[in-house]
């Protein structure tokens, strides 16, 4: 290797190096490191396997990945924060374009296309949530929720945050980690029959020092929180902001939170065109109304549309850049950096392809398929297709308590039938006993669902 020129490193050519060293006035490259004291120099070689040529690398990685079984091979009922949906080929084509893959932080001139694509993404999601401001995407739902909550605290000047107890536990962890030590969190109980927020408990906890209530709709557990309007009224009385997390693919059929009083909406873009990628497809968004008190509290970049010297031409730039930590370091609003811009562009492509009708259709199909699944599951002895009596979207808790099996056992057996069963909830929500959170979307054919039901019947008949 030390002799060979690597294809990725053109200037390993010795003659070229010599020429360059001459310009520099150095004898060797190592001389350029003279500023590093000897005691800091690494004396040994790195213990890393030898270099592979491209073909060897390909074979090595493919062999390794072949040890995985993908959701193309098994029928998958896992959701719980990362979901399997239909992904239009055009989404992949665009996000695999070399230009978008390798661009970064160029200026509005040379990266005009990137700016426009992200502005359009903002605009498309704005329609979906029916609000005027959407940010350049953040990391994921959890972090978007954390930031939404911090924004609410800055806006209200208050430090206490209420979280619905049904908020996804993993997201709660992120929220709390991002919120502390500044903020204090308290959980609001839920109704064990419906999953919805217990309004009495909410009222009791709604003190004057509460900045915001955060809940999710559709919730982590799948049910639809239908008390949006009432909750909003309660909050308004106390000057508390309502922050709602939402699965955007539900918004063709479900009312967007802005319609029932949300001040800040957040969620995950992954359902809108991102492959699951073992969780690499997550991407968070935040939306608010166009009020300066809100806009000025975003830490993220916000692209705005502006004119150019040519009549009728659009240009783009950073709105209220002075907010950001790029402009003012620790004095900026939280922090900003590389997040998930490519997924924002992709979500834009997805929304542009589906349009108003497609978004409604996909939402409806999910409602239909998931209700069908519950109905079929109900016909299995000892299984309750849905633990809650409330309506649900895409996900639902299947109750196995009367089967004599644990979810773990059932899921293990389902693998024999090439099925990934739902997420075992017995640790996160012990109050549900042996229950699993199953996810059914538009990608599940009737055959897939029937296969699940048949397989469960066989397993439970043992």
């Amino acid at each position: 290797m030390s002799q060979k020129v690597h294809p990725y490193i053109p200037n390993m050519v010795p003659e070229v190096q010599e020429e360059m060293l001459k310009v520099i006035g150095a004898k060797s490259i190592m001389e350029l490191y003279s500023c590093i004291p000897d005691e800091l120099r690494l004396k040994k070689d790195l213990k890393i396997p030898r270099a592979l040529t491209e073909y060897e690398l390909r074979r090595h990685i493919e062999t390794t990945l072949n040890k995985n079984i993908s959701t193309n091979e098994y029928v998958n009922f896992l959701g719980a924060g990362c979901w399997q949906h239909f992904i239009p080929a055009v989404c992949d084509e665009i996000n695999q374009r070399s230009e978008f893959v390798t661009a970064y932080a160029g200026e509005p001139y040379e990266d005009h296309g990137r700016f426009q694509a992200l502005f359009e993404y903002q605009s498309l999601v704005a329609e979906l949530v029916d609000m005027d401001v959407v940010n350049v995407p953040t990391f994921d739902w959890g972090q978007a929720a954390a930031t939404s909550i911090r924004m609410a605290s800055r806006i209200t000047g208050r430090k206490k945050i209420l979280l619905a107890e049904t908020v996804a536990p993993e997201r709660s962890k992120i929220i709390v980690n991002y919120g502390t030590p500044d903020l204090h969190f308290e959980f609001v109980k839920f109704d064990i029959q419906s999953g919805e927020i217990n309004l009495d408990d909410l009222k009791a906890k709604l003190t004057e020092d509460v900045a915001a209530l955060y809940f999710e709709n559709p919730s982590y557990l799948g049910f639809i929180e239908s008390q949006g309007g009432e909750i909003s009224n309660l909050l308004k009385e106390k000057g508390v902001l309502m922050v709602v997390g939402v699965d955007p693919i539900s918004l063709g059929v479900l009312a967007p939170p802005s319609h029932y009083g949300a001040d800040i909406v957040c969620g995950d873009l992954q359902p809108l065109g991102m492959h699951m990628n073992f969780s690499g497809g997550q991407s968070g968004f935040i939306a608010t109304h166009d009020e300066p008190t809100f806009v000025n509290e975003y830490p993220s970049r916000l692209f705005g549309i502006i004119p150019t010297v040519k009549e009728g031409e659009y240009g783009f730039g950073d709105v209220a850049y002075e907010r950001t930590s790029f402009a003012h370091r620790e004095k900026g609003k939280e922090s900003v950096g590389t997040q998930t811009a490519l997924w924002g562009i992709t979500a834009g492509v997805y929304l542009a392809l589906l349009g108003p009708n497609g978004m409604q259709e996909v939402g409806q199909t999910i409602m239909q398929n998931s209700q069908y699944a519950v109905q079929q599951l109900n016909q299995i002895d000892g299984v309750k297709g849905c633990r809650f009596n409330s309506p649900f979207f895409k996900e639902f808790i299947v109750d196995f308590n009367n089967t004599g099996f644990t979810v773990e056992q059932i899921n293990k057996e389902l693998q024999e039938y090439n099925i990934f069963g739902g997420k075992d909830l017995s640790k996160e929500f012990p109050e549900f006993g042996q229950s699993g959170l199953f996810c059914v979307t538009e990608v599940h054919s009737i055959e897939d669902i029937d296969h699940l039901v048949k397989s469960l019947k066989r397993i439970l008949a043992k």
């Binding site: 053109p10 200037n11 690494l42 329609e127 980690n177 950096g337 054919s445």
Partner: protein, 506 residues
């Protein structure tokens, strides 16, 4: 192209794609599905998205892609500190494998052994490169890694009962703004050290500020100036002596691979941006990964899960005693982990060291060329630069009136990026160049000669600069207060329509 905004392409009735249909039998059994939703929660009217045929949507976004200058397309050394290097196409192809794209993060471990193996193997490589003992790939950018490290610092001191007392974190002005910003999010008071006259972090100033309130010290080395602080071990010693944690911003470690490590410099934690040093692409700004390494002592604070290996089986370990919890959903950006692992394997130990050496060679070559351009300089100590340099056009500005922003606009005409620098502009009229190992001498000369030409224009014929860009996809922006006045800013198309309607009515 002069592409309209996508809403302008709307034609009622057109359709971009058909969603999977519902089966007749499902409809028979269930009905419309929507009536199950309580009336108050049903969406009353469809979202106001545009309706556009598939070909037109595709054409729109393809054209926008062509109007974006990815690093594949230019000599990408103008975005200094970002380590824009060659993104191997083979790695991109590997990430398109359905055995990776179509994995759900909660699948049983035995069905994702290949993926876990990749995480674990990359962990092993990172340990070698840094000297740290365990890595987490959950943080999904440098900023998030810094935030995670600040969280660990806090948890660490809390565990020791010093959570309240130690409320200061020390950083330097030439480090990335996120160092300060994330520590502030974690509730810390920020103490920022300014450099000495040679551009080195000032050890005397450090001594002045460390105290029992010191929770941690975070720094990059080299900083954005490209200057390596040779006393770094003394710095970490001073902080350790005061009871603080030292964490190392190695977002960009491109000049150091196989040369020097976090461990030997006395750091307790460090992170690498896989999308910088380790050749994962920037993707317009993420998704990305800030691979976070800690010493054995701090392992128990890492976010969960981490990957472990035992008896031929890889598993996800959720059980860390004092874990800070989570900073990101599930496991992180798996594609990026795969890419960086593939990149390391394609270079091997010798290759990694060559990366560092050539990055430093390229940078020093540019340094010697750029400081000879009329009006340009590199403030602070002469030489001592590793992989990048923060330059200044202060002289050029004072002599010609042309600013670094003007030059930026003009560089666009050459099909090249040129980034000024992070704020505040401690170095006046700054620009930061980082040529990495990916560019040939010919490439560097191309970039340098563009700078030379612009310098000449500044002194001799400014109209070319003042009218720039002339070759770009769009013309000069009219900024005025369109971006900062709430009455005028338009952060979405609907907002633009509302506000321009108002304007037209006036």
């Amino acid at each position: 192209w002069n592409e309209p905004v996508i809403f302008e392409l709307h034609q009622s009735g057109e359709k971009g794609v058909e969603v999977p249909p519902v089966h007749d039998k499902v409809v028979e059994t269930i009905g419309d599905g929507i009536s199950a939703i309580p009336k108050s929660m049903q969406r009353k009217s469809k979202p106001n998205l545009p309706e556009i045929g598939q070909a037109r949507v595709l054409r729109h976004y393809l054209r926008l892609s062509q109007e974006t200058l990815g690093s594949d397309f230019n000599v990408e050394i103008g975005q200094g500190t970002c380590t824009m290097k060659y993104i191997p196409k083979v790695n991109e192809m590997l990430t398109r494998n359905p055995k990776m794209m179509e994995l759900h993060p909660l699948q049983p471990e035995e069905t994702v052994q290949g993926m876990l193996e990749v995480f674990y193997n990359l962990d092993l490589c990172m340990r070698e490169i840094s000297g740290m003992d365990y890595f987490s790939f959950q943080p999904s950018s440098g900023t998030q890694a810094l935030f995670t490290m600040a969280s660990i610092v806090r948890k660490y001191h809390e565990q020791r009962g010093e959570g309240e007392k130690r409320n200061e974190i020390i950083t330097t002005i030439f480090s990335h703004p996120s160092q300060a910003a994330t520590a502030a999010v974690k509730g810390y008071k920020i103490i920022t050290l300014h450099p000495d006259e040679n551009g080195f972090p000032d050890i005397e100033k450090l001594k002045e500020v460390v105290s029992v309130r010191t929770a941690g010290f975070v720094v990059a080395n080299p900083e954005d100036t490209g200057i390596f602080n040779p006393k770094i071990k003394e710095f970490t010693q001073i902080v350790h002596d005061a009871g603080g944690i030292c964490y190392y911003d190695q977002a960009n470690a491109n000049g150091l691979l196989g040369i020097t490590r976090a461990k030997e410099a006395g750091f307790d934690m460090c992170f690498f941006n896989l999308h910088k040093t380790f050749a994962a692409p920037h993707m317009c700004g993420g998704p990305a990964t800030g691979a976070l390494g800690v010493t054995e002592e701090l392992k128990e604070f890492l976010p969960v899960p981490i990957v472990e290996y035992k008896d031929g089986k890889y598993s996800l370990q959720y059980d860390l005693k004092n874990s800070i919890g989570k900073v990101r959903a599930f496991h992180g950006v798996a594609q990026t982990v795969l890419r960086s692992y593939a990149w390391i394997r394609s270079l091997g130990p010798d290759g990694l060291k060559e990366v560092a050496k050539i990055a430093v060679l390229n940078n020093n070559y540019m340094y010697h060329k750029v400081i000879n351009i009329q009006g340009a300089s590199a403030p602070y100590v002469k030489g001592h630069r590793l992989e990048q340099v923060r330059y200044s056009f202060e002289q050029l500005t004072s002599e010609t009136g042309i600013t670094t922003e003007d030059i930026q606009r003009r560089m666009t005409d050459f099909g090249l990026h040129y980034w000024t620098s992070h704020h505040p502009y401690i170095v006046k009229q700054p620009f930061t160049l980082e040529p990495t190992e990916s560019y040939s001498k010919q490439d560097l000369d191309e970039y340098i000669s563009a700078l030379e030409q612009i310098s000449q224009e500044a002194y001799e014929n400014q109209s070319e600069i003042l009218n720039a860009p002339q070759n770009s996809t769009i013309h000069k922006l009219v900024e005025e207060d369109y971006l900062d006045n709430p009455e005028k800013w338009c952060i979405s198309w609907r907002s633009y329509l509302k506000k321009s309607k108002v304007k037209n009515h006036v």
